[in-house]
């Protein structure tokens, strides 16, 4: 061989395939300010719409007077529920089987609810118009406390549901009740508790917060009256679903609806659902025949479109004296706000909360969830998590710490004692899931060794003694979290959205020169799909990642997919990509065999092409095969080299991880300092370690925010008191701790490339690590559970309540 022949390593490296820390190709445009977001879409004659919103949490709408508004120069129309009724769109279906007002119909049910839509020639005129619309309200008593929702005399919120004793998910027990969802064996669980040597019960709340992507929700709707076609540019995490929903509710033929998700500035679940803004902009465009833009501002985003969490979880564990868990019982009071607009797979009213047994071998468990209405914004979206998995992980991880405290055991030891063992996989959990793979003890021990766990505990004991002697005002906590996620929704046997199975898809077309395009049904919001999807293809078919263009988000060109949320892209779309690539490879092998004049079975794959077994110098590269595909295919074979795959996953994937947080808290001010945060993630096969690290950094930063202060809080009258970034905690680089990341690799046995998904793990696992650190710090003063968020004043209050400050 001459010196010019690349080595195997060089050929491998040139592909920049799986495992390579390939730089993000989308960053070339993002870092130069050349992204193309919805607000960059500017069409000739485009109008702007904006909402009149309710100042009240609960009120009757007596009258809407638009006379003065219509006199404002530039204001063209004021749309109200009455207008929408003429096209049967005053209400819209939600993803959770409920209906939601598009514009206030007789009543408002939460502060900042959409009341009227003002359409004008520019945004300023629209806002001037809003200020001139006069709405007469008759305030009604607001229902804010979820624990009072099912009181006998609780105000009736949803008058439209009067007399409906059954909802989308079964019987309703009360006028403010939405559903009850139960899983598990009640009798067996009750028996386990009766026999248990040790039990405890604690109400663990996960407060209401918000995904708060930096780019808010927005759209441009443009209806072409001549063609009868509606084009919608929107911040949609699931563009195809939006197309189908629009077809169903607007009664437009689906082929005449074009949905385009351009670059998206973060989604985190906020951009899965359908919002009144989309409907109003579409109706306004259909009525005026002009494009209409709607862009939320920050306050609107935080207060109106899709909160997350708000789960109040009464948790009980049964255990032996030695700390072997024998049963789990959880009741959740789920505050869904004014309409049930959760974005879960349709048959899952509480998402996959039944992953609440976590990483532990519970012989039996029972779960019930009551969903209720309150005078708060609707939503309940999966904020960087797979459908209520974050709530479940927080619940069980906090509960394991409480049990450890009760038993006088170390929380890490308690976890090691109860982990599902490697030989138990595939593991059938007491609440009905089949965990695909895991090696929990190895990950936990690696984490403990890296942070020198036992030394931390010694330091903590010494500091506690010093605190008791009055020598310091600081306390120290070590927060341990070991989470198991369930992602990759999902198998058609249990997952659908409005009847559409939750598969995903990929179409790959290779061009004659050995390059190609891959179109995928997922939709990146910053995750880096353009980079990583090409890496999967590079490894599968030997075309350099740089030569594959990845395209997502245009429903006219991308194959139907269910979009990106719930860490489903790699588990589902990623699998479809690998499967499409394998179809291509199979055809390529036939072409290569024909050209090399051997039988297909005599060929073997070698990095970037085929070679004849036993004759390593007889090869045909993928690049050459691409050329041949367009001029000399075997007789009878169709020319071209392309494939489509729709992938219906056989199971979910179950990523896991071990996180440890070390924190000190000054009891006098409540100010905390995160001294160390170590995150070990096992997401199976790693496609791009750099992107994984970035995802983990981002998710941990969100987890930090949520645990330490980020909340949507209402006062007793139903006013949102945290409606801007001044009060809604969005950490900057200054507040954000340093992150240490690590990994183990336990591939998924059923996924084509063994990958599990990682984007959401750090949010899921991070929150309990922070909260456990705070709780661990205070535990020696006598507390068992302190509710989140752990912001400064609440830490001080905890210290005060425990007698540690005067």
């Amino acid at each position: 061989m001459n010196d010019m022949t690349p080595t195997r390593e060089q050929r491998e490296a040139k592909l920049e395939g799986m495992g390579c820390k390939r730089k993000r190709v989308e960053d070339i445009r993002f870092t130069q300010g050349k992204g193309n977001y919805v607000d960059d879409v500017k069409l000739p004659g485009m109008l702007h719409g904006d909402f009149v919103r309710s100042p009240h949490a609960h009120a009757r709408v007596k009258k809407i007077d638009d006379t003065e508004a219509l006199k404002v120069p530039g204001v063209l129309a004021v749309i109200t529920a009455e207008t929408l009724k003429t096209v049967n769109l005053a209400w819209m279906p939600t993803l959770a089987g409920d209906v939601q007002m598009v514009l206030a119909d007789g009543k408002v049910l939460f502060q900042n609810q959409e009341v009227a839509f003002v359409v004008a020639t520019d945004r300023y005129a629209a806002d001037d118009g809003i200020n001139k619309v006069v709405v007469e309200y008759e305030p009604l008593p607001p229902l804010i406390d979820p624990f009072k929702a099912m009181d006998k005399d609780a105000p009736v919120l949803r008058e439209d549901l009067a007399g409906k004793t059954t909802g989308a998910h079964g019987p309703r027990k009360h006028h403010n009740h939405i559903f009850e969802w139960t899983v598990g064996d009640k009798d067996l669980t009750d028996a386990a508790f009766r026999k248990a040597e040790v039990t405890f019960k604690e109400m663990i709340s996960y407060h209401r917060t918000h995904p708060s992507p930096l780019e808010t929700c927005q759209c441009v709707c443009s209806f072409d009256k001549i063609r009868g076609e509606l084009t919608i540019w929107g911040t949609f995490q699931a563009p195809h679903v939006i197309r189908t929903v629009v077809a169903l509710i607007a009664k437009l033929p689906e082929q005449k609806i074009h949905v385009i998700s351009p670059d998206i500035g973060g989604g985190f679940g906020n951009k899965v659902g359908a919002y009144p803004g989309y409907i109003c902009a579409a109706v306004a465009s259909i009525v005026t025949g002009k494009p209409v833009k709607w862009v939320e501002d920050r306050i609107e985003n935080l207060t109106a479109t899709s909160f997350a969490r708000d789960y109040h979880m009464t948790t009980e564990i049964a255990s032996t004296k030695e700390g072997k868990v024998t049963g789990l019982r959880v009741h959740v009071l789920a505050d869904h706000g004014a309409f049930d607009a959760c974005a879960d797979p349709s048959k899952w009213p509480a998402g996959f909360f039944n992953i609440v047994t976590g990483s532990y071998d519970f012989p039996t468990a029972h779960l019930s969830v009551d969903g209720i209405y309150t005078n708060k914004a609707p939503g309940g979206v999966a904020y960087r998590c797979s459908f209520r998995v974050t709530e479940a992980a927080y619940c069980i991880e906090r509960a394991m710490d409480i049990l450890a405290q009760k038993l006088g055991m170390d929380p890490a030891e308690l976890r090691l004692k109860n982990f599902i063992k490697p030989e138990q996989f595939p593991y059938h959990s007491a609440l009905g899931w089949e965990y695909d793979s895991g090696d929990y003890a190895t990950a936990m021990k690696k984490a403990m060794e890296t942070v020198k766990y036992s030394e931390l505990r010694k330091e903590q004991s010494a500091l506690r003694e010093a605190f008791k002697r009055g020598e310091t005002r600081e306390i120290m906590g070590v927060g341990v979290s070991f989470f198991t996620e369930i992602v990759g929704a999902g198998p058609s046997k249990n997952c659908d959205i409005l009847g559409i199975a939750m598969f995903d898809s990929c179409e790959i077309r290779l061009h004659p020169t050995g390059a190609g395009i891959a179109r995928v049904g997922s939709k990146s919001q910053g995750q880096g799909h353009e980079t990583t999807w090409a890496q999967i293809i590079a490894t599968e078919i030997g075309i350099p990642a740089d030569d594959i263009m990845v395209e997502e988000g245009n429903t006219d060109t991308a194959p139907y997919g269910l979009g990106t949320y719930g860490s489903r892209s790699t588990p589902v779309a990623g699998a479809a990509i690998a499967m499409a690539a394998r179809k291509i490879k199979a055809k390529a092998q036939m072409i290569a065999a024909y050209k090399l004049e051997v039988h297909e079975d005599d060929l073997e794959w070698d990095i970037d092409g085929f070679r004849v077994k036993g004759l390593p110098e007889k090869t045909m590269s993928m690049k050459d095969i691409c050329w041949a595909a367009y001029n000399s295919v075997p007789p009878g074979m169709e020319p071209g080299l392309e494939a489509v795959s729709y992938y219906d996953p056989p199971n979910m994937t179950y990523p896991f991880g071990a996180y440890i947080c070390v924190m000190n808290i000054d009891v006098d001010t409540g100010v905390y300092k995160v001294r160390r945060f170590y995150a070990l993630d096992d997401c199976g096969t790693r496609i791009n370690p750099m992107i994984i690290e970035g995802q983990v950094h981002g998710g941990l930063t969100e987890a930090f925010a949520i645990a330490m202060g980020q909340e949507i809080r209402y006062d007793a009258d139903g006013n949102v008191v945290t409606g801007s970034f001044m009060d809604f905690f969005m950490p900057t680089a200054v507040e954000t701790p340093h992150w240490e990341t690590d990994f183990t690799v336990t591939p998924s046995p059923h996924h084509p490339i063994g990958a599990k998904g990682v984007g959401e793990s750090p949010n899921v696992g991070g929150v309990p690590a922070f909260s456990n650190a705070v709780n661990d710090a205070f535990s020696f003063l006598g507390s068992t559970h302190i509710q989140m968020p752990h912001d400064y004043w609440r830490n001080w209050k905890a210290a005060k309540d425990l007698g540690a400050v005067a």
Binding site: D297, R298, D668, M726, Y792, W793
Partner: protein, 287 residues
């Protein structure tokens, strides 16, 4: 978050600015850095019909020493304070405080004049001005007057400024060489206003506090001069009991509002702690 309509003016002299303000009347507002006023306009909490932008008035800029006084033009930005050698030398507490105001973007635009004239109890400079014994030069069409910072603040967004008046400069007596100073501010994150903050300027003699001024930010409708707290530390070596006494005296005059930063009790409690910490740090710096 879209402001209502307004007219925009950009005068080149103080006289022109004053003329505009008096002819345009009550609905006119001076615009400095805009980092307090524009957010209020975007929420339509402020809806001025006329904005008189002061950026074209060269006379309102600059930092100069006049004997034992430092005079700072109203339109001097917080960033310019940080960049000034004169401030670094004679009024280092201004640097310490400016660095605790928001972020570089805000400091590039936000002015000292706007900060002290605004009347928001969350602004940090006013308490500092009280502790330093500063005065403000107010000019109106009927002439100029000097008002002490300690006399200027009347309530949240209510100040001694009369309609049509401009605050043109701030005059700060230079504290004696060897003075100790500290600004202690508890905030939730970068870009947040104080949960509680305390400014201390003191001198020490023979290990004991000789003179002391203490002022508080965001612990009442206006900035507060904590006179009893300051009296309590004079002649002491700031032993723990004295510090506690000072904190208690300061807490006695605080009346913060409960907000997302915490309930009243917490804000007062940490207000006291800020006083103690500022006293200790200031004493450590004094010579």
């Amino acid at each position: 978050m879209i402001p209502g309509p307004f007219n925009y003016y950009r005068p080149a002299t103080v006289a022109d600015a004053l003329k505009l303000l008096s002819t345009l009347g009550d609905e006119a507002r001076p615009l400095a850095g805009g980092h307090s006023l524009v957010p209020m306009m975007k929420l339509r909490l402020a809806t001025p019909e006329h904005l008189v932008d002061l950026h074209g008035v060269a006379d309102l800029k600059g930092i100069r020493r006049e004997g034992n006084t430092v005079v700072i033009g109203a339109m001097t930005t917080q960033h310019e304070l940080l960049a000034s050698d004169e401030i670094g030398r004679s009024l280092p507490i201004l640097d310490e405080t400016a660095l605790l105001i928001a972020d570089p973007q805000v400091r590039y635009r936000g002015t000292i004049g706007g900060n002290v004239a605004n009347g928001d109890p969350g602004n940090d400079m006013p308490a500092l001005m009280m502790a330093l014994g500063a005065s403000y030069r107010l000019e109106g069409k009927s002439g100029a007057r000097e008002v002490a910072a300690s006399e200027f603040y009347q309530g949240a967004y209510f100040t001694a400024l009369e309609p049509g008046e401009l605050l043109t400069s701030v005059a700060i007596p230079v504290p004696s060489a060897g003075h100790g100073y500290a600004y202690e501010k508890l905030k939730r994150k970068v870009g947040d206003y104080a949960t509680a903050a305390a400014a201390v300027v003191l001198t020490m003699a023979g290990g004991k506090v000789a003179t002391c001024k203490i002022a508080l930010t965001n612990l009442s409708e206006t900035p507060l001069l904590a006179e009893d707290a300051a009296k309590a530390v004079i002649g002491t070596s700031l032993d723990p009991a004295t510090l506690k006494k000072a904190a208690a005296a300061a807490e006695a005059i605080m009346s913060p509002a409960a907000d997302a930063r915490g309930p009243v009790e917490y804000r007062k409690h940490v207000g006291g702690i800020m006083v103690m910490r500022a006293l200790q740090r200031a004493a450590g710096r004094a010579s």
